[in-house]
Amino acid sequence: MLKHLYDTDCVTWSPQGKLFQVEYAMEAVKQGSICLGLKSSENVVLCSLKRQPSELAGYQEKQFKIDDHMAIAIAGLTADARVLCKYMRTECLEYKYTYESHHPVGRLVFKVAEKSQHKTQSGAKRPYGVGLLVAGIDPNGVHLFETCPSGNYYEYKCQAIGSRSQAARTYFESWFHLFEKSTLEQLVLHGLSAIKKAIMEDEELNEKNVEVGILGKNLKFTHLNAQELKDYIAKLEGFNPNSQIQQE
């Protein structure tokens, strides 16, 4: 992206009606490694590709539990994600303390969006440089939300954000009509197939660089462990979504 006039701070509009600082913040999300989410009528699955700064380093975690019924996957500035994660966790704990029930998902996403918007309308602040995929289950049903640095939020059937996410979204466009009735296993395989479309030619999916989190109406949020990931990745070879259509 080239530098523009009118992009020094958040309180200056461009003549075309853009807030460039907010747009640049959304660029930061696009630079993060891919994470995606998809849901059925019973489950939500989050898949992400973990980056390793160097061979000596560990892999950066991209999925965080917010409460038993809710989790996020992040793309962008991890430090900003930590701040939002802590905020969401505290809100959920306080809600549970007061009302003895789980925080409704949409309501919490709204709170995060409000917080994000606040940073786009102040001279001394900058927007959060992170996009979240929020997976959650409440009495209103199964949810997948995306939040933006701009303060917008959207609900999705499935979505991918981050680097090379368009490839994953293209995969989703072909197959999302199957997700509603998919089993948990099928959802995970779809998620991994979508991620596979987005990795570079010389990279391969393995249990170290991929992270899968699952959530269900009777299933608290859990990460798949290394062995389970290996098994799923092995199953990818023989996975054919067409066979799912024939079942129905």
């Binding site: 539990k65 966790r89 549970k96 303390y97």
Partner: protein
């Protein structure tokens, strides 16, 4: 000034005549209610057994026959509380919230020793308006052996092999001293197996229910091991 001892009563009565006829008002509102009941906990190698009756009372009235006094805080430890039920609920909520925050920050559940210390500090933080709770914290230590911590209302605590709190405390603890430690026992056989100790605990509650009006209805028993938690409920006298 010097007042001879024999003259003291006369002196004070004259000086402050208003004080002579004072009567104590005993019907001021109290924030405390004793909802009574009995809890006990026994630690053995490899497991800890916590039990509490399920009767909730207020004076001579029964408020509920099915109210739990036990609260599992982590996979490895359980809080058992006798005293005021409202304070038990408040204390339990605080600990549940604080321990979830601990788990988020440390990526691992708090050990029993940590929970024990946290409970003590929370109780002392209310030194000047105490939680009316008499607690036992029972759990597995780092080697998965059973430990029991006993507390007073303001957080003084110590580790014990077994503990009892509540209205049946004096009745039950004497039996446990005899059965589990062999105090004052002629034939000093100490039970070793879980089943023997469970039998003793059930007997203790039956005994307490016989003599203590606030203990009865059901006894709820939780057995914590490294493999998980088992729950048993047995009936007690309902009168």
């Amino acid at each position: 000034m010097y007042i001879p001892v024999n003259d003291m009563l006369k002196h004070f009565k004259q000086d402050a005549p208003a004080m002579a006829n004072i009567t104590h008002k005993s019907d001021q509102w109290s924030p405390y209610h004793d909802n009574s009941g009995t809890v006990l906990a026994v630690g053995i190698p490899g497991a800890v057994i916590v039990a509490g009756d399920t009767r909730l009372s207020n004076g001579y009235n029964i408020l509920s026959r099915d109210a739990t006094k036990l609260s599992q805080l982590t996979d490895k430890c359980v809080l058992a509380t006798a005293g005021q039920y409202a304070d038990f609920i408040a204390l339990r909520k605080f600990l549940q919230q604080r321990l979830q925050l601990y788990e988020f920050q440390n990526e691992v559940q708090a050990s029993t020793e940590t929970v024990a210390h946290l409970l003590s500090r929370e109780l002392y933080s209310r030194r000047f308006f105490p939680y009316y709770t008499f607690n036992l914290l029972a759990g597995l230590d780092e080697n998965n052996h059973g430990v029991v911590y006993g507390y007073d209302a303001i957080g003084s605590y110590d580790q014990m092999t077994y503990g009892v709190q509540g209205s049946g405390q004096e009745l039950v603890v004497a039996v446990l001293d005899n059965q589990l430690k062999g105090y004052n026992k002629i034939n000093k056989t100490i039970p070793q197996t879980r089943e023997e100790i469970l039998d003793i605990i059930l007997d203790c509650f039956s005994c307490a229910a016989e003599r203590d009006i606030h203990t009865g209805d059901n006894v709820e028993i939780l057995i914590i091991t490294a493999a998980g938690t088992e729950r048993i409920v047995k009936p007690l006298r309902k009168d």
